[in-house]
Amino acid sequence: MKGKSEGCFIALCNPWDSGIETAGTPPNSGRICGDGMGGNNCQKAISRSGDRGGVFPCDRADDQPTDPCFASGTQASPDDAVVLKETDCVVSHVIDRLNSVVEKPGGLCHACRRELAGLRDLLLQLTQGTAERDILDAVSLAADRLHGRGHCETARRAVLFVVTALRYFPGEFRMHAVNRHCEAGVCRRLLPAPCQVACPAGIDIPTYLALTAAGRYEEALEIIRKDNPFAWVCGLICPHPCEKACIRSHLDEPINIRYLKAFVSDWTANRKAYPTAVPPSFNGKKVAVVGSGPAGLTAAHYLALEGYRVTIFEALPKAGGLLVFGIPEYRLPRDIVAREIASIQSMGVEIRTGIAVGKDITLQELRGQGYEAFFLGIGAHQGYKLQIEGEDHFPQVYDAIGFLRQVNLGVREKPAEKVVVVGGGNSAMDAARTCLRLGCKSVHIAYRRTRAEMPANPQEVDEAMEEGVQFHFLAVPVRIGGDNGQVGYLECLQSELGKPDASGRRRPVPIDGSNFRIEAGAVIAAIGQQPDFHHFCDEMPCQITPRNLIVTEPPSTRTGAPDVFAGGDAVTGPATVVQAIAAGKQAALDIHHYLTGSIGTPPVFRVHKRCRIPFSPMPASEKISRLRIPVPVADVEDRSRNFEPVELAYTDEEARREANRCLRCDVCIRCGACERVCREGMRVHALDFRQISGTESILGDYHRAQERCIACGACALACPTGAIEFLEDGAGREVRLCGTILNRLEVQKCHSCGGPFVPSRYLDYVTERSDAVTGRKVLRRLCPACARESRARNFVKT
C-alpha cells in the first residue's frame, strides 16, 4: 500500500490486499495499486466516501467527472476509500456504509434519516433473503429520489453508494434479489445447502424435501421442475451427487434425495395432471436445437419459457436421446420419458424426428429458414473400439451404445447365448443386464481394474451381481478369437494394480503369460463413447478437440461460431443426465443473452433459493433414530428376465418419513455459533458439536441437550440464520434446531401473580452462581415484575 499525500484521505486496507493510491490530478481520488502482501489481485471494486464517492469497478475508478451522478461539480474530498475484493459483497458493503451514516448522531435531518433508514431496510431484505422480485425497482426509486431531492448533504452523499452500486453492479443485486444467492458468501442467510451446490442443475433440495415432509407433493414437484424439467427421470436414474454432499451422512446415511423426486412426480401424475409450464407469448425469434437428449430438451424448455419458438431436430426416429436409446427400460420406463417430453412439447416446442442436421438439412439452410441460434446437444453416440486383435473380424463384436440403441429401437434379440461385456462403467452394467433380459444364458463382465475402481454406480453393480452377471476383475482383453466368423472366446491377461495414472486410479499392469479365455459368442465393448460428427462431414460449425469433443469455454456453452452453442455429452464426453440438464440450462441463458443483444459477459447459471419453508417440529429422539429407507427393489427372480422396473416405490408414509430426516442445511449453515455461546459463553456444554470440515460443525449428540440445556436462549440469539429457535409460552421454554426439539423445560409459576417464572434447571444455574458469591441460600419465587413491586411496597414512607 502506498499513498501520495493529497488532501484528507484514509485508505482502509488490509496489508495483505492491494492498496489505494491517489492519482495526480483532482478530482480523482483513488486508484488501486500493488498486490499487497497477499499477492492476489482479486479486487472487485473501490468504494470511497465523499461528495464524489460511491462504489466503482476498479477499471472505472476515474470515470466520475463525466458521470451524470456527479453533475453537481463540487470539490472532491474523499474521507476514506476501501478496496472490495471478490470475497466482499457489494450489497452488504453498501448497507454498512448507510448504517454508519444513519446510526451516527447528528448530521442528518429527520426526513433524510427516515428515508435513508428505509432504504437500508430495503437493502437488508436483500441480504436476508426476504426480498420480493421487484425490490430493485423500489430501491432505485428511493435512491434516486433521495439523491435528487435529499435535504442534507450527508444523505445525498450516502445515497451515492446505492446509486453507483446499482449502476455498476446490477448483476450482484439481481443475484441477491432473484436468486437469493450471494456469490461472495458474505450474506449468511443466503448460503445454499451443500446438496443444492452439489446438484449440477442446482435444484433447491431442502425446500422440496421440506414440502414433501409436509405432504405438499405437488408444490415439491413444482420446486424441482423450476430447476430441472426432468424431475421424474432424474428421480429414477440420477447418480445423485447431492447425496454425497448430504450433511446427514455425517450422522448416519444421506437422505434418499434422488428417489423422492420420482415419488412426488409419480404421486402428482397419478392424482393430478402432470404439470406443464405456461410459456409467454412468442417473442419473434426462432431457435434450432440439434439432438433431443436431456441437454437439448432442457435448453428447449428454458428457451420456450423465454418466449422463443424452438424446433428440435432428432436424427433417430424417436425423441429422448440417451434417455430412450441408452438407458434400459428396466431402469427408466419409457412412458415416463414420454410424459416429460410431452410436457415440453405442450409448451410449443416442436420435435422433428428422423432429420439429421448436417446430412438432411444443413445449418446454413436452417439459418435461411429464420433460425437465429443453434444448440448442439448431439450427445456421444459412438462407442470406442477395443483396439485388440480380432475385433474387426467378427460381426458379433458390438459397442455397448450401439447395442443398446438397437435393443431400444425394438430389436430384442439376444446377441448370443454367452456374452462378455468389456468395461466397468454404467453402460457396461446396462449392456450386461440387458443381455440377461434378452435371454442370454451367461453374461460376463471383464474389467481391467478391481471393483473399487469401477466407475459404475455401486448399487448397479450390486444389482448386476445379484442377477447373475459374472465379473472378471483385473482382466485386460488382448484378443477375440473364434472359428468361421463366429466369436468363440475373449482372451484376457490377468493383471495387477500398479501406480496411479492421470485419472488417479491405479493402472493395471498385465502379468506375462497369465492368458486366460472367457468363452463367449458375442463381445460388447463398453469402454466409453464419443460424439458422432459424421453427419456434418466437413462443415462442422465449431472446433473439435483431439478427443473428438466440441470446444466451448466453460462454464459458458458458446463455441467458435457466434450463433452456435453446444453442451451435454458432445462437449464433456460421456457424463450424467443431470450434467446435460445443467448444460441445457446454461445454453438457454447464453442463447437468450446472445439473441437479446445484451452486452457484457453472459450470466452463469447459479443456484437459486426458491423459498424458505417453515420447520416442522419433531422430537430430537425421533429425528435422530430415523434411518434411511432404501427404495424396495423387485426380487431377482421376478426382475432379471424382463424389462419391468427394478425399483419399486415408497409408500406415502415412507416418503414423508424419509424427507423428514433432512437437517435443513439451507437454514443451518453449520457455523457452530450456537455451540460456542453455549460452551464458552454460558459454560453449559449442552450442545455437542462435531467438526465436519474446516469451517463447519454439526450437532453430533441429539440427546445431551435434554439433560444439560438450561433453556436460556443464548444459542438462538447467537444464530445468524434463525436455525435455532427459542420459544417461550406460558407453560415452558423450548429450544429447537431446524425444527428438531432439542429441549423443553416446564417453567415454575410466580408465587405472587401465578404467571410464568423460569424453569427450575435455569433457576438452579442462576442461584448456584449468585449463592457462591453472597454465601447464602437465596430462594427466588417471584417473577422480576412482582419482585420489584414487593420491594417497592417496603420503600413506601409513611
Binding site: 436460556c712 436462549g713 452462581r769 422480576p784 420503600f795
Partner: protein, 174 residues
C-alpha cells in the same frame, strides 16, 4: 454502593412518569424495557383518606450486586472508579441470568437487540458532569442526584438504612 446517590422525595412525586419517558428516550428503548420504573403502591386508607404512593425504582447499584457474579460472560460489570453497575453489550449473550438474579428486577430485556439493558445512571452524561436524564427532566424536582460523599449526614443515614434494611432482611425470600 456506588459513589453516587439518586434519591426520590416521595412526598413531592406526583407519578407523572416523566422520568421513565426521558429514560427511555435517552436510551432509545423499544416497547418493553423500562430501566427505571415508578411503582404505584396503594391506594391505602390513611387517616380516612385514600393515599397513593409512587416509588421510584431504578437500579440501586449495590455494593455487592448479585447480577454481576451470575453473568457468565462478564458483560455485567461494576465500574471500578465509581461503582456504577452497567452492561457491556458486546459481551451480553442474552441469557437473562441477571434479570432472574436481581432482587429488584432491575436489569431489563431489550427484545430489539436481544441483550440486557439496565440503568447505568446515564453514565456518559455523568462523566460529562451532567445529571441522569430522569433527574434532569423530573417535573416536580423530587429526584436528586449527587455524589454520596456530598450527601448530608441525616439523609445519607436514612437512605443507607432503607436500602440496608432491605438487603439485610432476615428472610431473604423473594
Amino acid at each position: 454502593m456506588s459513589r453516587y446517590y439518586l434519591l426520590q422525595d416521595q412526598k413531592k412525586c406526583i407519578g407523572c412518569f416523566s422520568c421513565e419517558v426521558h429514560c427511555k428516550t435517552y436510551h432509545g428503548l423499544p416497547l418493553g424495557p423500562r430501566l427505571t420504573q415508578i411503582i404505584t403502591v396503594g391506594p391505602r386508607m390513611v387517616a380516612g383518606v385514600p393515599r397513593m404512593s409512587f416509588v421510584f425504582m431504578p437500579c440501586f447499584h449495590c455494593e455487592d450486586p448479585w447480577c454481576v457474579p451470575v453473568c457468565p460472560t462478564g458483560a455485567m460489570r461494576k465500574r471500578p472508579g465509581d461503582g456504577i453497575v452497567y452492561v457491556e453489550p458486546s459481551l451480553c449473550v442474552g441469557c437473562k441470568s441477571c434479570i432472574t438474579a436481581c432482587p429488584w428486577g432491575a436489569p431489563q430485556w431489550n427484545p430489539l437487540t436481544g441483550k440486557v439493558v439496565k440503568c447505568n445512571y446515564c453514565m456518559e452524561r455523568v462523566d460529562q458532569g451532567l445529571e441522569p436524564s430522569c433527574v434532569t427532566k423530573c417535573v416536580t424536582h423530587c429526584l436528586h442526584f449527587g455524589k454520596a460523599s456530598e450527601l448530608d449526614t441525616t439523609r445519607r443515614e436514612r437512605f443507607a438504612r432503607s436500602v440496608a434494611f432491605e438487603l439485610m432482611n432476615p428472610s431473604p425470600v423473594r
